[in-house]
Amino acid sequence: MNQLMRFSRLHGDSKVAPFVAILVILTLLASMGNLLMPEDSAFYVSTYTITLLGKYLCYAMLALAVDVIWGYCGILSLGHGAFFALGGYAMGMYLMRQIGDRGVYGNPELPDFMVFLNWTELPWFWQGMDQFWFAMLMVLLVPGILAFVFGWLAFRSRVTGVYLSIMTQALTYALLLAFFRNEMGFGGNNGLTDFKDILGFDLQADTTRVTLFAITALLLAVILVVSHKILQSRMGKVIVAIRDGESRARFIGYRTERFKVWLFVYSALIAGIAGALYVPQVGIINPGEFSPLNSIEMVIWVAVGGRGTLIGAIVGALLVNFAKTKFTAIMPDGWLFALGALFVFVTLYLPQGLMGLYQKMVNKRRSGGGDNDARPADDKVDTAPAIKGGDA
């Protein structure tokens, strides 16, 4: 029984609960700061800030998706932007249909760009997108099915490592080129924009914006908890085992490709949800979201925060994007150089990311704090997460 307790201690030691608490409290404070405080108050949070925070949280969710497969299963996807953008497009199509006859051309059925292209009726894939539930189903189904087909083909053929990364990159690039074409029926170069309202609520209203922000934060918390639970289950252990020794796992009797496919689909679903939340807050979705550069940036967010930690991915995405906002305001051309330098720095000096650094500091304080009466057996238990680079 004593052993069991140590066992549960090793695995129950988690920072997820406090992190979720902080997230919820900050969201509440920011929302109240916007809705309840007068505009001249020191505690007033502008609607611009709320929208910006909401955007960051969408990116954080996306980083979480990348971390789930990269950090835990070693699958480096350089094309996660594709799933994000597909989720975004599904939401964008719904929002386009909500415009109705308020568009420039005033056509109650067709979005403006279709009228402009002289189309007379709605293409088949736009049917049903005026229903919210149907659009939300598509937000999940389209990235999910794409990930399933892609993953099934790739993992069954045992494509791994850098080859897989290149293939994901090619996938998102192919979609980028496809969505640029006007004939695709997704607004071509300009994408979908000029949204008016969602479920009848005005998208420009403060309350809608705060609600969207709060929903994003809430969903991020839920996804974080669910991902944490999945990765702590025995299935999660198999996934880490596949990362560290795929052939060993296979010879123990696991069909590793199935685990990889389902994890990939799960990750794509998160990315799709993030995209769907992103579009109403940012107000536009265009093929630029498919750009391979975006997908590479996501990987950097995760690397900065610390991969394989979940919380690290969120923190990394928030910090890097905050830095991006500040940096591009001062020196727009310098950002890519700064990002590249950051990546090199993190790879060389912080291989475990910020979470690894934090864990190291905690361990140092613990061992330096004169805590010498701890039993040696306990020390062993305590070092385990440190080697893992901060077990979330």
Binding site: Q3, M235, V240, A241, G245, Y254
Partner: protein, 277 residues
Amino acid sequence: MSPLTDVREIMRRDQVWSFLKDEQKPVDVSHDVILYVEGLNLSFDGFKALNDLNLYVNDGELRCLIGANGAGKTTLMDVITGKTTPDSGSVYFGQSINLLQHDEADIAQLGIGRKFQKPTVFEAHSVFDNLELSLKQQKSVIPMLFARLTPTEIDRIDEVLNVIGLKEQCFMQAGALSHGQKQWLEIGMLLVAEPRLLLIDEPVAGMTAQETERTAELLTSLAGERTVIVVEHDMEFVRSIARTVTVLHQGSVLAEGTMDQVQNNPDVIEVYLGEAP
């Protein structure tokens, strides 16, 4: 028979309906042979790795495979465990299971465990977790998602920890173990799955004399209940454990017998020393 007895028979509460039972058929070893390898041929780009190889292993036997580099020992293991498909030949597990029709995961589930030449354990997991993952269980995605550690499983893991002598290191990360300990852990991972046939590739490479001795004890104690096939270069070690030795040479069996018989076999001497004395 009255309908009533029929109904009673169907509704019996002391057993489940036959279609609900696990389909997994046990290995049929009614003729005492657990592994039949016949007429195996395999070539890589013209190089004949296996050349009409025949091998029969009895149930409960401890068999050693020896042979020079490139004799086909590891390739043979690859074929048995489903990693490589041979050009021709057949591999049967017991009387009825054709191993060539199954993939690696299936073969592992059938009860064939394999230890690699280089010790491979899941380094980021604790010793305990390594064993937990290796337990005999339903290994598909959904059951694994909802699996909970049961007391029986803890007992089983505990038992194996005692056998491989890693009780103290139970919660240590596997990556932090010494080379010899990793070898044992890998053997433990095979044992916890309760296999019928163990294929062990170079178990004592890089072990100290004392560790080697303990490994020899472990392997001999396993034989009988399970069938063990060991590939090893260390002749002293082979001598200390082997009852039957099979010598492979250029992809086929050169000699088979006790260690003494094999060592005095003129063919073996010729191959090993270059010419007959």
